[in-house]
Symmetry: C2
Subunit: 286 residues, 2 copies
DNA sequence: CGAAGTCTTGACAAGACTCAAACTGGGTGG
DNA sequence: CCACCCAGTTTGAGTCTTGTCAAGACTTCG
């Protein structure tokens, strides 16, 4: 009954200092002591909005050009296919910016609140204006787009190359790091990850049934445990082995094999790559 | 023997007018009549480089911060995992910009020439400078990053949700459109797509053997034909049906089913989504 | 208590991968 | 000119992973 409510006006405030906009994400770049920049920032954004879990912040195909700063709660960005399949392309934690898009295009994905969330919306034109007036913010904006791209490439690699087990391990490992910092994978932590198995399935491109089976397997192998939104990293080292961390390309190709080692055709690639250059194509060029 | 050569200095030129930088991609935004902007642009980039097919333009883990404009040829961006697996995250055609990244981070992927290519490199600091001096170029730069993000979301969806057949069809369909324009999917075309089945496999997250089988199937079903780098779209309509085109979320959910229609659990999602709002999560919020 | 959604498990089917072998075409070197 | 090699392609047979369907247990909320 609550989930269709668009957003409550109850807790609307209109100051960046209140809504934390200035301290997280995009607006971290604004210098507090620069009165003019602060004024420009504060006057640029719309009142803060509160959404209930499950509410749609914006939908695929819509035209709106607000850019959002996530203040509290988790948001999922996802693409829906008309036959009901859905891919969660990104899970956002507080501090994230989302919703940036070319002015002329409609939204290519939906943003849905996973938990109750608070967001700070900024109209596209205001942001464009602000970027021109506050160069540091322009740079921060670009930085965040570049990071988004990088993350997208990482997740594409996991989706395309990872086994189901690796995908789940990578997703949960990344989220643990996002919540608890890099230390999460050194020491092992217990963190709140407010996802259902169905959401994990939508993010990893698997079915929820299979996610369930693999979570059991991961638990039995004492790697990670996930129950009821509580994630426990039982063995950070085993988890790290499942997580691609493609960091250095072929530097330590000989070691660091997962499980029983790569199949023959993969070993062949390694051997080849060791030769001189990891050639994608080999047509002798002119 | 040719593939390890880094780049030939033979055809290095130093004018944007020559290297087409001004007319494609990033630099389309510079007004020819703005003498100052043109001068700034021309003085910003380094000499044009020529790479042979298979050569690495930059490698995952490197520190260089050049941004590139692709002038001619095809380039693949890909992430390599240390055990030999590889995901091609993007295939670039002339006019594309690539290599932008946060100043402080190392490259998260490798760029490899798929064919012989010509690129126009621009040092990161020069570009930053140029962006500040030429606002239109700053906007174009942002636009291209936003488009990259959008494309990444689309491809993630295809990788995560598509069957092998859909992935291959989507990849080749998109490339046909990139080469021949939107008309490619209306009329059906014959275009050059200089990929091997292995490269298609690396882009779709499949094995080359499986790609081969499915290309045969697609040929037998008279949808597309791919031989020797020549792509023929036999039946644009059947191809369109395989290609997700997630455009409008649930607008035409009833029609437009692929093949035998969605399985039961997907139909359930559609029914649910029709209700009121396509809820991702349902925890009644406070 | 009933409804709805999630989680869990089993049995089975389908999809994708693995390994192996043969075939293709273009280049290389004798 | 031919034999050879190479990378890419093609096909078959068998295995393993993942999806499908179904049913029951558990939670939360009204």
């Amino acid at each position: 009954m609550t989930m269709t409510r668009k957003f409550t006006g109850a807790s609307i405030r209109n100051s960046c200092a209140d809504c934390m906009l200035r301290y997280r994400g995009l607006c971290r770049s604004v210098d507090d002591r620069d009165a003019e920049a602060v004024a420009a920032l504060e006057s640029s954004h719309s009142p803060v909005r509160v959404y209930d879990a499950g509410a749609v912040i914006y939908g695929q195909g819509e035209a709106g050009d607000h850019v959002f700063n996530l203040i509290s709660g988790w948001v999922a960005l996802h693409r829906d296919i008309s036959d009901g399949r859905r891919q969660i392309t990104r899970l956002l934690l507080p501090g994230a910016m989302f919703g940036a898009k070319p002015r002329t295009q409609e939204r290519g994905h939906t943003a849905t609140a996973v938990t109750n969330v608070t967001v700070c919306p900024m109209p596209g034109p205001s942001l464009d204006d602000l970027r021109r007036r506050v160069p540091a913010l322009n740079e921060q904006f670009i930085l965040m787009l570049e990071r988004d791209n990088h993350r997208a490439f990482e997740w594409m690699t996991t989706l395309g190359q990872g086994s189901a087990k690796e995908r789940i391990a990578t997703l949960l490992g990344d989220l643990a790091v996002a919540v608890a910092g890099e230390a999460a994978l050194d020491a092992g932590v217990i963190v709140k990850v407010p996802l259902t198995q169905r959401l994990i399935a939508d993010a990893t491109g698997l079915t929820s049934v299979h996610v369930n089976r693999l979570l059991r397997k991961l638990r039995e192998e004492l790697i990670i445990e996930f129950h009821n939104g509580i994630l426990t990293i039982t063995d950070p080292w085993k988890l790290r082995a499942l997580t691609e961390r493609a960091g250095d390309p072929l530097r330590h190709a000989a070691g660091a094999r997962i499980g029983a080692g790569p199949p023959a055709y993969v070993a062949a690639r390694i051997a080849q790559a060791r030769g001189s250059a990891p050639a994608l194509a080999d047509q002798p060029g002119g």
